[in-house]
């Protein structure tokens, strides 16, 4: 009779392309829909956030420097790798979600994969749509070009665990931003599994960094960090969100949050080129036209 011991996965943070425990050595229990213990996730500290921002910062230049076409290919590759691990994602979503059915989990996974493909397609098109030539009074070409803001902090929504995370992450990185994601406090495991997929998908180290832990502890250092250029507070409750926005204002960090329409995660409205624009700065160039 074989009584095999199950080998459980340690869900770790994804920082600078590596899976790491917290420098603080802490972890916290994550419970599933039925209240049963799923795993212990890393309880990150402000220093982990700092390290993640440093990794994102150093990856940003070369990520933005790649051709738009190449970034599109890489985002498409994420979808490819997720597709082949669909079953794993379905199981993770099912375990995490309250009252989640198998069908809903499978629908969510499919929608998340499609969302990567949708944004991958925008990689070499959004600049044409969002930028353009402006008519000016003078002998100049005047061109506006959207450029990535830099390092973007994303506070991922709690529920459901996968689709909203992808919906907020993909438009950030497609333009050449790098991201520091604070995974959902309640359902962080799916985010870690997504990180494993990203690690296999040609996404360069440091472009996406995923920290897990307690919102109240991790959001303030992220919001106050001078090197964070934009913040997506979609996953924050109103109180924390207001505090974070105030802290972010001290260093002129752009603050974004999903609208009610955008929170209909499975709908068309949750995906838009304007979400890419929300994390871009517009550069305007004047060029003499001659006669």
């Amino acid at each position: 009779m074989s009584s095999r011991l199950v080998v459980n996965k340690t869900y770790k943070q994804f920082v600078g392309g590596a899976f790491e425990r917290s420098e603080s050595g802490r972890s916290y229990p994550v419970v599933g829909a039925g209240g049963q213990l799923l795993a212990h996730a890393v309880q990150g500290s402000r220093k982990d956030v700092r390290d993640a921002v440093a990794a994102a910062r150093s990856a940003q230049g070369s990520w933005a420097g790649r051709t738009a076409y190449n970034r599109g290919q890489i985002l498409y590759r994420v979808a490819e790798v997720m597709e082949s691990r669909q079953a794993e994602f379905c199981a993770e979503v099912l375990r995490a979600g309250d009252g989640c059915t198998e069908e809903a989990a499978s629908r969510e996974t499919a929608a998340a994969i499609d969302r990567w493909v949708w944004y991958a397609g925008w990689a070499d098109k959004f600049a044409t749509v969002l930028g353009g030539a402006n008519p000016v009074a003078g002998p100049y070409f005047n061109l506006s070009v959207p450029e990535p803001a830099g390092v973007v902090g994303i506070v991922a929504p709690d529920e459901p665990p996968l689709l909203p995370l992808v919906s907020r992450l993909a438009p950030v990185i497609v333009s050449g931003n790098t991201a520091v994601v604070l995974a959902s406090e309640r359902c962080p495991l799916v985010a870690v599994t997504l990180a494993e997929t990203l690690a296999l998908s040609d996404i360069p180290s440091g472009v996406v960094n995923i920290c897990t832990g307690l919102r109240n502890e991790l959001v303030p250092p992220l919001a106050r960090h001078v090197a964070v250029d934009a913040l997506d507070l979609t996953g924050c409750d109103p109180g924390l969100s207001a505090d974070a926005a105030r802290q972010a204002a001290a260093t002129i960090t752009r603050v974004v949050s999903a609208s009610t329409a955008e929170r209909q995660w499975a709908e068309e409205a949750a995906q838009s080129p304007y979400l890419i624009d929300a994390f871009c700065e517009t550069k305007t160039v004047w060029h003499p036209k001659g006669r």
């Binding site: 700092r50 921002v53 910062r57 250092p221 106050r224 960090h225 001078v226 090197a227 001290a250 260093t251």
Partner: protein, 322 residues
Amino acid sequence: MSLLSPILYRVSDLLAAESPTGVADAVAGVRITPVDAVGLEQRAAGLCTRSLKTSSKAAALELAIRVMDLTTLEGADTPERVQALCARARRPDAADWSVPPVAAVCVYPELVPVAAEALAESPVAVASVAGGFPAGLAPWEVRLAEIAWAVAAGADEVDIVLNRSAFLSGRYQKAYDEIAAAKQACGSAHLKVILETGELGAYDQIRRASMLAMVAGADFIKTSTGKIGTSATPPIALCMAEAIRDMAEQTGRAVGLKLAGGIRTAKQAWHYLVIVGETLGPEWLTPERFRLGASSLLNDVLMQRSKLGDGCYQRREDFSVD
């Protein structure tokens, strides 16, 4: 005794029977303690686990600035660049007057007059590399003349390099004589001898070179030129600090320690402060006896200082390039 006989015990064992420059017996008799490499690395690693928080961290950051030799040793150094560096040396943070000035600015000899003028009437000293830096293999007369020139041009401190070519081939007497002559050429200026530890091979060699340089008259012994890949590491710093302790115990002479090369973060800096403080005692934690030679360290220290002040993590781009 017979087991250990190949080990050179005393500085006098390194030198020829009759030294042309003349060595006092008491000094030449200084023992060279063998190095336990495993123990050394373990001890250094242990000292580097110490973490400094709040007020101790603030004190360490301030001390790191006070003992810093702000260095620029590049072919592209222009007078303007040196002037900018000197301005930074006098007031490291333009927005915060409470930041103390650094200990010295370290430049190539040609730029000493520029630095001396820019640092006139400031507590910041002018240090110059000389003596055929970084290889030390220019003709001897040229090296000696370079040292004298740098001092005449206004250098308060001169960083020369150990003649590794002589040292590694066993011509200890030659290496010794060169340092002793350089010390004379320095006059009242302080002499720092760069051992270039990355080229010496073993901890025992580093210990031997340290003792040789100290006995020959060095006011400071310094790890590296910063021009080769391997530079200051915690075990090397500890190895040299122990040599300085041996020297002080046996002769009563206090020699300074300068660590240079590859020190880029505030954390590294306070690890070295801990190593020196624990090995040589707090009396060595002053600019007179301890220096950190660095170019990019200052920015990180200022960043950490700023973090300590308002609690916000900072952006590297907000601090100066040099």
